[in-house]
Every structure is written in C-alpha cells, then in structure tokens.
C-alpha cells in the first residue's frame, strides 16, 4: 500500500489570467518525508491541492501509482490532504463539532485508524465536543494533525500543520510524525514556514518560488552544498567568481556571500590561501538566500 508514488507533469495553474504555478513537474517517491517550503503566495497550497485533485490544474497531469488522480476514487483513496481549518471561513462548516468532523473523516478515509485517532486526541488534550468555530488556532492545527495521522493514507499531506502550535506541541507533533513514519513507512509532505525546527525531520525538500519549482532534493545533500563566505569584499568577490552566489550582505568593507557549490565540489578549493571564513548554511538560511529579496541586503537600502 505504501509503495505508491505521486507525480505531476508540467502542471500550471492560472487564476483570473494570472499564472500562479508554472510548469511544475515532480515525483513524490514512497516512504519519505518531504518538506515543502516557499514564501507566502509562492503556490504551495495550490500545488498541494492540485496534487490531491482538490483543485483542477490549468495544464498538466497528476498521477498516483500511475493512475490519474482527477476524479479517480481508487487513486484518491491513497491520499490524505489535511487542510488548514479556518473557523472564520464563510464556506467552511465551522458549526461542526470536532467529533463530527472526525466522524466525517472516519467515513471518507478508507484506512482510518479510530484507536490511533483517540490516542492522538488524548495526547493533544483536544475537547471533541467543542465546535470548530470555537477552537484556537493551535487547536485547529491539532485537529488537522489528528485527521492526517489517523487517516493512515499512503501519501499524507499536511499544510502548515504547526501554525499556531506552541513549542511543546510542535515538538510533540514532530515526534509523532517520526514515530508514525518509522512504524508505517508512509509518505509525508509537510508544508511549513517554521523551517529551522522541521529541517531535521525532512528527508527531502521541495522549494517553490513564485510559482516555479526551484528544487527537489535530499535535505542533507542540499545543505552540504550551501555556504556563507565572509571576509573583505574583494577577497569574497574573488573567491566567488566561479560560484553561484544566491545572496550577499555587505557591512562596511566586509561582505558575506551565500553560495552554492556543484555536487562533489569542495569549499576549501575556493577559500584556501585567502583570509576568508566559510561555514555551512542551515536549511532556513539557504532558503532565504535562494528565495529572499533579489536586492542584496546592505546594497541600496
């Protein structure tokens, strides 16, 4: 059941004539935790909703286990996209009680694990008699997490699952995610803005920027290729002459350049013999370097 991949080919999406997703092709391989990161409005939720047939693509195709996802129940049965709940959404049934929402999930997800759902509810201390409209942002996130994990779907997608959760609950969520992943080998796609905390959990990372797929890569390999090189401006510029510089900060005569190496390349090759410091970047830092403001910080500001 868990050896199913999810792919999209040349997917584009237009809203009112404006292209919000542009020619995205990717394959979600089975048994992996993917992190989907991108700035606000980059198209993360749109991409996820197209992958799960909740939103029709303007162009392109999406398949799950080789079958088209659109209006295909057998393909959709392998997928759970637990969307962010919004209590003020005019279209959402915010008058539902949590238990009613979970009951609905139990009917529609074919592999629903009621006992696991009960354990998760107890873990988070959720009051299932409360109406969705009365829940805090953190509790809404907990409900979406319960649905996602208890769905036991081969491909489980969580959109901003930790939004509004306190640090203890966030830690608990990541623990639960890893426990469940270890136990079942399911595929998870987690979109988040809190990258630093989740970086260790993501085996692979998908970066979307302005509707385009920037990369889909093994997290450890990706992080190992990004460095910050600091020193005198001329020295940094000389060292970076043959490197891909994503971003740079200038402070007085000092400069820090955020660079990307080619696979197999070594940073020593560029800084040896120069008075420069080089250190690796965290996933968050490299994301900012790749997708941050095009104008280098410190220049023209």
């Amino acid at each position: 059941m868990n050896n199913i991949n999810l792919s999209c080919e040349h997917v584009s999406k237009d809203y009112s004539g404006k292209r919000v997703l542009n020619d995205i092709s990717l394959t979600i391989e089975p048994g992996c935790i993917y992190g989907l990161i991108g700035r606000n409005g980059a198209g993360k939720t749109t991409l996820l909703s197209i992958l799960t047939a909740q939103n029709p693509a303007t162009l392109g195709t999406v398949t799950c286990g080789g079958e088209p996802v659109w209006e295909n129940q057998s393909a959709l049965d392998h997928i759970c996209f637990s969307r962010e709940l919004n209590p003020t959404n005019a279209y959402g049934n915010s008058s539902y009680k949590v238990k009613e929402y979970l009951r609905m999930a139990s009917v529609y997800y074919p592999h629903w694990d009621a006992a696991y759902a009960k354990r998760l509810i107890d873990t988070f201390g959720l009051d299932t008699k409360k109406r969705i409209a009365k829940l805090s942002k953190g509790m809404l996130s907990m409900v979406t997490i319960v649905v996602a994990l208890a769905s036991r779907a081969a491909i489980t997608i969580l959109d901003e699952p930790v939004a509004g959760l306190d640090v203890v609950s966030r830690e608990r969520f990541y623990q639960l995610l890893i426990e469940d992943y270890t136990e079942t080998g399911r595929t998870f796609i987690v979109s988040t803005h809190i990258i630093e905390e989740a970086a260790n959990v993501f085996e692979k990372v998908i970066i979307i920027d302005q509707g385009r797929l920037r990369l889909i890569e093994d997290t450890a390999e990706l992080v190992s290729r990004f460095f910050a090189i600091s020193g005198k401006e001329e020295e940094v510029d000389a060292a970076c002459a043959n490197l891909k510089v994503h971003h740079s900060d200038i402070m007085g005569r000092s400069k820090t350049a955020y660079v990307e190496l080619q696979p197999g390349d070594s940073i020593k090759h560029y800084i040896d013999g120069r008075e420069l410091d080089a250190h690796g970047l965290s996933l968050q830092k490299l994301f900012v370097a790749m997708c941050g403001d095009e104008t280098p910080m410190g220049e023209g500001k």
Binding site: S49, Q54, E71, Q73, L76, F81, Y91, G92, V107, Y108
Partner: protein
Amino acid sequence: MKQGILRNLRYQGRNQLQMVGLTIVTILLLAVFSAFTAPIDRIGQVVIAGFAAYVPTACVLWGVTPSLSFYTVIAPYLLSMGSTRKSVFWVNQIYKVGFALFSGVVFYLVNMVGGEYSVFTGFSASFTLFATIIFLSSIGEVAGALSYRVGKWGMIFYIAALVMVCLVVGVAFGLSAASGGEMANMMFEFADAMKAFPITLFALGGIVGGALFSVACWLIVRRVAIK
C-alpha cells in the same frame, strides 16, 4: 467510484435521515399547535385539514433549505477528504429524489388517513409536492454551487435573476389581464386550455425544470476548486 458512492451514501444518508426526523417533528409540532388553537369540538377536523399545509411546509423547510448550503458547506469537506465530485453530486441527487419521494408518500398517506376532512385527495397533490421539492431543491443547489464557485454575489445575482423572471412574467400576465386587450384574451384562452391538462403535467414540468437546474449545477461543480 463504487466505494466513493457507498461512503457518500453512508455519510450523506445520515444527514438526510436527520432531515427526515426534523420534518416529522415539525409536522407534529405544527399539528399540536393547531390542536391547541382549534375549537374543542373540531380539533380532529382542523388538525387533519391543516396537514394540507403542515406537510408541504415542513417538507419544503427541511428538504429545500439545506440544498442552499450543501455545496457551500458540506460538499467542500467531502471533496477535501478525497471524495470525487461525481459521487458527491450523484448521491446528493439520489437523496434529493428520495426526500421528495418521502414527502410525496407522507402527504399521500396523511391525506388518505384524513379521509373526508382532507383538503387534498388522490395522487396529483402528492405528486405536485414531490415535483415542487425536486424543482426548488435543484434551484437551491445551483444557488449554493454558484455562491461557492464565484462568491456570494454570484448567488445574489442568480436569485435576483430568478425573482426578476417571475416578476416580469407575473407583471406581464397581470397587466394584460387588467388591460383586457387581445393579449389578455389570448392569456385567458391559454388559461382555459390549461384547465384541460391534468395537474400532473405541471408537476412533470417541475421535474423537467429540476433536472435542467441539476445539469446546470453539475456544470458548475464538476471542476470546482476547494477553497
């Protein structure tokens, strides 16, 4: 597809059963209320005669009103949980017809049991209620689907358009009748000719209209995006 239909039958069926329960409770409450307000010596007669109003009122209330919110409130959740648009739509159609059938049968039985005190008797009144519920529910579905797909102004424009059509037709008939001209004569002739048609023919027209609105609803819903 089959699994999707079964899940929807299960979930939407539970909701529909609630509507059936609420309909029965509403009919009973209306009957009790009229019993309290009727003269003591004519309680039975008043209550039985009142069923002519209670049953259609309750059936339209619980059969038609929820159709407005189905595509704005319930369907998006069902779709977000992996159901297909086709199965959500078709099962909703099945339950719509089922509820209309339930309403017609209840109305028929109540009128039959009421015997001489019943305002309506026979098949045509029940069939008309059946057709009315299908027609109004289908109009409501389109309103809800439009509201979800293009926003509340879509629904407001649609309802306003329906009201305008009714107004124009009504005013045209009224003015022509009042003016007593050739047009009015034609209308009276038309009305006379219509008397020859059984009421079931009008009811059938309602069912055909309902089917057309359902087709319109499917065209709106078949590629709807979950918000």
